[in-house]
Amino acid sequence: MKPSIPAEELLRPGHQACQGCGATIAMRYALKGLGPKTILVVPACCWTVIAGSAPRSSVGVPLLHSPFAAAAATATGVKQALVQKGDLETQVMVWAGDGSTYDIGLQAWSGAADRGEDILYACYDNEAYMNTGIQRSGATPRGAWTMTTPDAPGSQRPPKDIGAIVRAHRPAYFATATPAFSEDMVRKFQKARAIKGFRFIHVLSPCPPGWKYDPGETVSLSRLAVQTGIFPLYEVEDERLRLNMRPAKLKPVEEFLAPQGRFKKLTPDQRRAIQQDVERRWEAWAA
C-alpha cells in the first residue's frame, strides 16, 4: 500500500525519547515535510537529549544545539551564513519546546519575527518543562498538576495564547498541527518550506510521563485535543485564518481530560469551567 505521507525517513531509531513520545512523532513528520536539505537549531528542551549524545545523532540532517534563550537568534545566524555561501535552498528550522518558546526564548523569536527573518520556527508544545522533570511553563493548562503546582487547584493561571502572540507579529505563515493528523501536519511543513519570511508552526505534542497517561494513548489524546476543541487546527496566511478541521459537534472535554493523571484532582467546577472556556472560544473560531 502506498503510504499517505512521504516514505523517506530522517528520524532514526535508537533515540532516547520516552516510550510513546509525541515529540518524536512530531519530528518525524516535520522532517518528512521539509526533506534532507534542512538544518535544525534546538535550544534546551527534551530534544536536546533525543538528538543523541555525540557522536551519535538521531536525525539525518545537521543539528545545532543552542542556549535556551537564543534559538531564533542562532537560526538567524545560520540562515545568514547559508546566504553568504550562496545556499538559498537549505531550510533553517528552530525546533523548540514550550519552555523556550513561551518563556525563556520569547524575546529571541519575537525579534526574529520582527526582522522578518527567513526561518521556520516550530514549537513542539508538551505544556510544561518536561525534560527537567515536569515544571509548570507558560503553556501549562489551568488546573494541571506539575511538580511546581503539585496541590489542588493545580496550575492557577491560564496558558499564554501563543497563537495570538505569534500572529500579533504578522508572520508570513502560522499554523497549528498535532501528530494524530499526520497528513495535515506534513502538508503544513511542506507548505511552510515553500514560503519566504518568518514562519511559525505550533505543534501540540502529548507527553506520557508529564501528562501521566499510558504511552499507547499519545495519538488518541492528540486526536481528542482537536475533536474536543481544546486544540483547533488552523493556519494563517496573509493574516487570513482558515480552520482546517471543523467537527460537526465537539466531543466533551472530559474525554480528553479523563485519561490524564495531571487532571485527576480537577473538581467538577474546574471541569465545567474548561468546557465553558472551550465552547466560548470555539464560537469565535466557528464564526
Partner: protein, 92 residues
C-alpha cells in the same frame, strides 16, 4: 567578510554523524507488539504513528524491528483492525 580559520585556540571540528541506531533501545521493552498477519491489511497506520520509526514497510504485513521497539503500544492502540496484540516479555 573575514573568515574564521581553525587554530589551536579555536578548533573547528565537526561532530560525528553516527546514527543512534547503535543504541538498542529494544531492551527497554516490557511488552512486545505482535501483528496478526492473517488479519493485517497492510494499511501502514502502525508504520505512520511509530515514535521510534522502527516499523518497516513491506508489500503486506509490516515488520517491527525489535532491536528498537520500546513497547509503547501506540501501534496496538491505533490499528483499525485491532490486530496488534501486546504480549508481556519474559523476565530475563
Amino acid at each position: 567578510m573575514r573568515r574564521v580559520e581553525a587554530t589551536d585556540a579555536l578548533p573547528v571540528q565537526l561532530v560525528g554523524d553516527q546514527p543512534t541506531s547503535e543504541n538498542r533501545t529494544g531492551d527497554w521493552r516490557s511488552q512486545r507488539p505482535v501483528i496478526d498477519a492473517a488479519r493485517c491489511t497492510g494499511c501502514l497506520i502502525c508504520w505512520k504513528y511509530c515514535p521510534e520509526a522502527c516499523v518497516t514497510r513491506t508489500d503486506k504485513v509490516p515488520v517491527i524491528l525489535m532491536d528498537y521497539c520500546k513497547g509503547c503500544a501506540i501501534c496496538a492502540a491505533e490499528c483499525p483492525r485491532d490486530c496488534v496484540a501486546m504480549q508481556p516479555e519474559e523476565a530475563a
